[in-house]
Amino acid sequence: MAKTVVIDPVTRIEGHAKISIYLDDVGEVSDAQFHVVEYRGFEKFCEGRPMWEMAGITARICGICPVSHLLASAKTGDKIQAVQVPPAGEKLRRMMNLAQFTQSHALSFFHLSSPDFLLGWDSDPAKRNVFGLMAADPELARAGIRLRQFGQTVIELLGARKIHAAWAVPGGVRSPLSEEGRTWIRERLPESRATLDIALNLFKRFLDQFGAEAEVFGTFPSLFMGLVGKNGEWEHYGGHIRFTDSNGNIVADGLSEDNYRDYLGEAVEPWSYLKFPYYKPMGYPDGIYRVGPLARVNICSHFGTPDADKELREFRDRVGGVATSSFMYHYARLLEILASLEKIEELVNDPDITSKRCRAEAGINNLEGVGVSEAPRGTLFHHYQVDENGILKKVNLIIATGQNNLGMNKTVTQIAKHYIHGNEIPEGMLNRVEAGIRCYDPCLSCSTHAAGQMPLHVQLVAGDGTVVDEVYRD
């Protein structure tokens, strides 16, 4: 008999989600869906508030990547004020973003995903977590914890707190790095680099070990989107938007965030609070694209730092050019930590990083602005319309994780079809389906920022599944 298996909640991810797996009469998987079941409401309730509050409010969209919202919001404010950020301000913002990449990617790899690799997909679910890792391999766990701590502390040294620092503002940043901060970063960098080397070597071993998983953990053609610099190099803050395909061909390049509506659409499905962005010229759902570490690594020509470029060449040799398996998100994430550490090292030695000339001041000079930044999970857009006093009239946010929604659904379906046969489903098989989602490191706090209240619908269901009573309220 046809039935549905629901994984509820999906664990070791950052947010609230379920997965439904639909089995047909003979126990084969006919479909699978990734449901995001969280919903708060920023686009609407920010209206009527001063534009200057947005960095502080939108940081609260997400405790994992508050820096992304700080930066996208501040960049939107730069445009509304029509100011040029002083060079020191841009370098400081870049440094904080690189620190965030480091901490967020370390969290994804060590705390959330490595228990699957190290303890096993089928290991005891009570111990398959970061505490299990601490018991099984304390030195590795400690190194991972300290790598994340490095990123979080750089953020704190710049913005005075690790989470929700109200530091980036329209026009620049509030304060530069202190000399004490500079010394701390310099002293701690070698340890962080050493940990990253351990993680890279470890992951390359997993690649050999989990070749079969990598084949089905979201291997499919799609577009990839992200920011690149003017020479096509890896970008995380400035630059322009590029789309490439699975063969590495450039589909669109030099796109500006200002007219994102021309190339990005957002579809809605009834079974998820997360919308489904797609590449407009190809329509819905054919315009599937992926963002985040895998996309950034696929679309760029090079990182621009020696060790990360060396690793990128090896990555491309191993995956055969363009990586089309979402399993490689983990690998791309490690390359991005390496590049971030190298770029932090460059910045910490830059005289501008302690310059007090890090903010331009201005009033409201444009009534509309779009800001873009690369969050750890992908490209993030903030779009504000304001009145003459800077009071928000309309807000739209396109969040990184949402843009992977089509890809995440395709991934869980592929994994479920591969591993699940018959009505008896071992727990370890369901964990593999969840692990497909963990590849994307989805941030569902972020992605379900959307506004509003839902009409209430209460169902009283009897033991045999029949609906005894229903109440609707709108």
Partner: protein
């Protein structure tokens, strides 16, 4: 060896910043592991069902939808010492900004109809996508709370100062700016 306490964390409507701040305990997490077993947590445990007889649970986030409500009631029944963890849990904070808005259909129109350019519709899938509550509430409006740790998020040193005594079976002193300041 003495029995470890059973520690859980749950996360309702919030940004996960409080859970991130918990992870900012960094190497002190090894101390947590000495005194506690993590029996349920979205980021620290793979178990799907909230167990019985939990000693201490940290609740992040406000109560904003039917699932938050149901989970919280279950957690209260199965937990001895429940902690309202962070400003969203304590005051409903940012998620409650939607309480000031008018009719639900007006705001839903913005998110899913006006900004959804193809297949515009309101997400609705009984049993899967939870309905939002009319009003977002702090957790103590729904269940009895044994302790509050405010902050947006509470810093890791504050979390440590609050839970270190609990792990050893003592009651922490929640007083002074370092322990109870909001924001």
């Amino acid at each position: 060896m003495s029995e470890k306490i059973k520690l859980a964390t749950i996360w309702l409507a919030g940004c996960s910043g409080c859970h991130m701040s918990f992870l900012d305990l960094d190497e002190w997490l090894f101390e947590v592991a000495k005194f506690a077993d993590i029996v349920y947590s979205p980021v620290g445990c793979d178990l799907k069902e909230y167990p019985e007889n939990v000693d201490v649970c940290l609740v992040e986030g406000a109560v904003a939808n039917e699932e938050n409500w149901e989970l919280l009631l279950k957690v209260r029944k199965r937990t001895k010492f429940l902690i309202s963890f962070g400003d969203c849990a304590v005051t409903a904070n940012v998620p409650a900004m939607r309480n000031m808005l008018g009719k639900a259909d007006q705001v839903l129109k913005r998110s899913y109809l006006e900004l959804g350019d193809v297949t515009p519709q309101l997400p609705h899938f009984p049993g899967i996508v939870p309905e939002l509550l009319e009003r977002v509430s702090p957790v103590h409006e729904v269940v009895q709370i044994d302790m509050f740790i405010p902050g947006c998020p509470p810093s890791a040193p504050r979390i440590q100062a609050a839970i270190e005594p609990l792990l050893k079976g003592e009651t922490p002193k929640m007083e002074g700016r370092d322990m109870i300041k909001f924001g």
